[in-house]
Subunit: 488 residues, 2 copies
């Protein structure tokens, strides 16, 4: 049966070339059973005229479909749905489902995650996105990333792409991290002391699972990274929040029952405080004396642009008590989902076995592409560009905040990518964020960083995804909105 060209419509929302859209329409028609083997396709001339595209576009689409055996060509008679084309299934539609499961009782409810701190998906629609932890395309070296990915997709590296690594990692990536990334944080580690993770979140999760049970106690900073609280909640351990000050976590505040302390010494999340050397030494001393372990989350380790970076806490650790979690989410992009854990061999071996059970390994393509990007020096160059841009944005932001008299609670003396803010008395930052959204300003309310859900004056303003030139106007709207809320 001839298939009429009227069957085909171009969808203007389709993302991709015209050729691929045509190709997809034909393939879907065959896979859905709409077009049957032997059916004749409209001639390329007719279909092109009908869709208003160049004839070559249709011809190229048909040629691709020929190669994949969806179509066959019969010389001048044209193109037909191939007898060898993939066949649609012919299962009867299942009867309507009447769910009889009591899900409230059935689900273990181990992981009640507050919807409060989910990031908005459509953040790019905001003109003034002071959003934290998303990549800025202006600073990302897309061209070289793509070139490195292309290499990792090449015939010579097909094993790295396709293989089941089981519990192993990409050798090249581990080697580069051990030889070049860790020494820049003052850390020396061999390949058996490094595990690649699916981002810092996954690293912290693995560490928590390996070290905690419901009979153990974790000390956390207050406020702290919300994702960490979810992770620890899941282990059902005892939680002891320790309020941080301008120098980060005070070691004397740690309860004696502490089994594992989760800290962000180089740049406290979210207050940006940097823990000074004397306190770091006190913390390690306490760990040795009271026999607890420390998980160091060094999530912004590449973003120290104000003066020389502090070495990591891990670099001072002589007893194997510190587990170090790093991530490429801030220095490359979060969608990469790659980070690493550094720790003593028995710990890494256990975390590796657990990772294998949970997800086997991070995809080979992501690991190998990153290894190329690192090895060829693009990574170091990109970080340098980011640091320069962030330094400029930070200055613009601090100036604008000062101009409008907004209260900075913690700006960090190392750099970073955000400023921790405090709204005036009586203003809840969630309400502030809600008012700002229709004005195209995106801020992060502080509630998620605290254990309770009380009204919270704090909020985070990041400059990692907004260009300098838009910052003053964004801050101006912020200041106006606060003023309106005060006078209301």
């Amino acid at each position: 049966m001839p298939i009429s060209e009227d069957t085909f419509f171009l969808d203007t929302r389709f993302k991709g070339t015209l050729q691929s859209q045509i190709q997809q329409m034909v393939a879907e028609g065959i896979l859905s059973g709409q077009f049957k083997p032997g059916d004749r396709l409209p001639s390329s001339r007719r279909l092109a005229a009908h869709l208003g595209v160049a004839r070559i576009t249709v011809t190229l689409a048909y040629t691709e479909l020929l190669a994949d055996d969806y179509l066959r060509s019969e010389g001048r008679s044209g193109y037909f749905v191939s007898e060898n084309a993939p066949q649609p299934s012919h299962f009867p539609a299942p009867p309507p489902s009447t769910d009889s499961v009591d899900w409230t009782r059935t689900l273990t409810g181990r992981d009640p995650v507050a919807a409060l701190h989910r990031k908005p998906a459509q953040w790019r629609d905001y003109r003034y996105p002071f959003i934290y932890g998303q990549a800025d395309h202006r600073l990302f070296d897309h061209k070289n990333w793509r070139a490195c990915a292309l290499r990792a997709l090449g015939t010579r590296e097909l094993d790295a792409l396709t293989n089941d690594y089981d519990d192993r990692d990409d050798d090249q990536l581990v080697e580069y991290i051990a030889r070049h990334i860790l020494p820049r944080r003052g850390i020396q580690a061999g390949p058996e002391e490094v595990l690649i993770t699916l981002g810092a979140q996954n690293g912290l999760w693995l560490a928590a699972q390996v070290l905690l049970t419901q009979r153990r106690t974790a000390a956390i900073e207050a406020p702290c990274y919300p994702g960490l609280r979810d992770i620890l909640h899941q282990t059902r351990c005892q939680l002891e929040p320790v309020t941080v000050d301008a120098q980060g976590l005070p070691p004397e505040g740690l309860p004696e029952t502490t089994d594992v302390a989760f800290v962000t010494p180089s740049h406290q999340c979210p207050t940006n405080a940097t823990m000074p050397l004397h306190r770091r030494k006190e913390l390690l001393k306490a760990a040795n004396e009271q026999d607890f372990l420390i998980v160091e989350d060094d999530y912004e380790f590449e973003l120290s642009f104000l003066g020389a970076p502090h070495p990591a806490l891990k670099s001072l650790d002589t007893e194997g008590r510190v587990i170090y979690a790093g991530s490429f989410s801030k220095s490359l992009f979060p969608g990469l989902r790659l980070g690493f854990l550094v720790g003593a061999k028995p710990f890494i071996a256990e975390a590796r076995a657990l990772r294998a059970t949970v997800l086997r390994h991070p995809p080979g393509l992501m690991q190998r592409t990153t290894a190329h990007f690192l090895r060829l020096g693009h990574y170091a160059a990109q970080i340098r560009r980011m640091r320069r841009a962030y330094a400029a944005r930070r200055e613009t932001m601090l100036t604008a905040l000062k101009t409008h008299g907004l209260m900075v609670e913690g700006q960090g003396d190392f750099g970073g990518s955000s400023v921790w803010m405090r709204a005036p008395e009586g203003i809840d930052s969630a309400a502030l964020a809600k008012r700002l959204a229709p004005r195209s300003v995106l801020i992060e309310p502080g509630h998620g960083f605290f254990a309770d859900t009380a009204p919270c004056p704090f909020y985070r303003l990041a400059y990692s995804s907004i260009p300098s030139e838009l910052i003053p106007k964004g801050i101006e709207i912020l200041a106006q909105t606060i003023a309106e809320m005060q006078s209301a």
Copy 2:
């Protein structure tokens, strides 16, 4: 200071172009502090002569390094290390570590994984790899995969690549799975009933975590997929193995205490048995009457090439009791790390929250590339090619096994990618595998599929990674080795 060309050596083991090797040597020299800002590089002519490469190769490497600001050029005076080049860190080497942690006591030991069932990394070095679950590059449509990846790496899809998806998935991938993949298994599901996972392993792990506690009971098939036993071990639930027969798991064998039954109805792992329709209905009836849930692992769902595929158990489920786990590891490649869960909305919501806590989301690039590969019809075409090849290999293998009188324990009547074998009385398959390795034959001993570690006559022979023409010789060596062991 001028840098002598003698500093540079080509490494013949280097994987990549000469240009990228030169680029990397210079970048590493700068990042390690060996080359300092202001140092003059050897001229492209001298370095090219020294390394025995074309001068243009050196010039292109230098040009790349210029663009990344590692070098600056001073007209005719040549290339110098840039003053803006990334700087090496100058932390003192940490003191030698004297690990004082009692790791045996400290680690929670939730996940003791038997090294027994780890896959050999160097399997491609074997001439006769009857290995299961690795991709065959001869059947993989690498060209189109690469084209789809290139598109997903394009400027128009930069958001899909770089964004933090938080707990969300790639819309295009979910839509294609719901509209085209699931209907081929007789399953109807909306986007809120689908969750993308990091492969089937991750899907089973999420399901187990969401549904089981140490007070609940999981029924598993005996023998069963070893990774599943690790997963359930980690939940600390009660485990009830139910011995399978030639029709898979007998529903009447399930204990009354069952809360969740993990089954592989379409193709039992590892025996290849297919559960007939009447038994599937009995199983669902038992689940409804005894109020338990079923996790259906349909790991080889694309490989039914002997007659029409059975619809999935999930397609018969009218009460929302079945959770379906699929994977692209067998139909695309395992290094992809992508699979999916299908289940009732409350279940999927909880699994999604847990996934976000554990790893946030599978990398955007892998999801989007797969979506393109599926949409453009390459996937269906590749599966068809694989089915044809597997059908031919299977016939060759069964013929060879018959010729040598080897005992087939389960060959499956649906197709698949392996045959479940039994060695003669008194022969342990682990000992057999050990003898075969130096003869370049790789088989999978059966121990890992059973709960105990007793000597085991069973082994798995897969034909998914070995071409037809090598199968007869591989089977011949296998038969010879068995004969030697019998006469010894």
